[in-house]
Symmetry: C2
Subunit: 134 residues, 2 copies
Amino acid sequence: MQTMQKLKAVGVKPSITRIMIYDYIFSTKDHPNVDEIFITLKETLPTLSKTTVYNTVHLLKTHRLIKAYAMPNHEMRYDANLDVHAHFLCASCGQITDVLIDVCDIVQTVISENCIDETVITFHGTCSKCQTSV
Amino acid sequence: MQTMQKLKAVGVKPSITRIMIYDYIFSTKDHPNVDEIFITLKETLPTLSKTTVYNTVHLLKTHRLIKAYAMPNHEMRYDANLDVHAHFLCASCGQITDVLIDVCDIVQTVISENCIDETVITFHGTCSKCQTSV
DNA sequence: TACAAATTTGTATTCATTATAATTTATATT
DNA sequence: AATATAAATTATAATGAATACAAATTTGTA
């Protein structure tokens, strides 16, 4: 489904700025923060305002087109991959990678008394690349 | 083990301020942020400085006496419960509760190529109390 | 083409957090 | 006990992420 259709489907006007912001988040595998999105897109949108990026990621998040992840270093990072998955966060290089994982039987233990609609799993450690460069 | 011993064991001078900050985080089940710690302890430590609270939680975190959890609303919250567990975060009331969970077989799927030293699991949803007050 | 609505821009403001310097407290030494 | 030194705490300034706000611009419709 094209970005324009995705935005229209949730009632968000698909302006070029919004499409580019969403496409960047969707295509990068780096879970960017607002500053990274801003710096990257400013190359092709020279008049882009940082406030627009803040407003747009908030809009996309509110309409469940992206998800926000709060990092231990106070950064807020964004992910357009809505499939159920976990993240691996390397303490050395800061890289965040998606980890496919089945959360069904994890959720079982808490679903009996609470209503769960999302499970966030983050593995902290050292990635294989940083381990070999010690 | 008493707080004073815990602090000494990791090479941290067990001043009364530090003991009280640690004890508060340890005893409360609310995973407080810096502002909550500060406001609460100011009642018994009238000259307490917010900078001291920031410095002390950073010290305790660095010495692995407490853990920090970044919340979706940008808050950084602290937990002195070092046992392996997950959290349940209620989207309605904001309450964070500990959830006992076995993460061993969750870690299996990613341990083969990365070095994992911590797994953070957060369940998002609506707690039973907020469900009944709809 | 005119107009209204929406989007974007740019600046000011807020607030969490850190940096810094001064003061106070604790410890070591004489 | 007094003094020197180190560490802790305090208070203020500074930083930077994020939000608020008003103005300008763009888009869509009549």
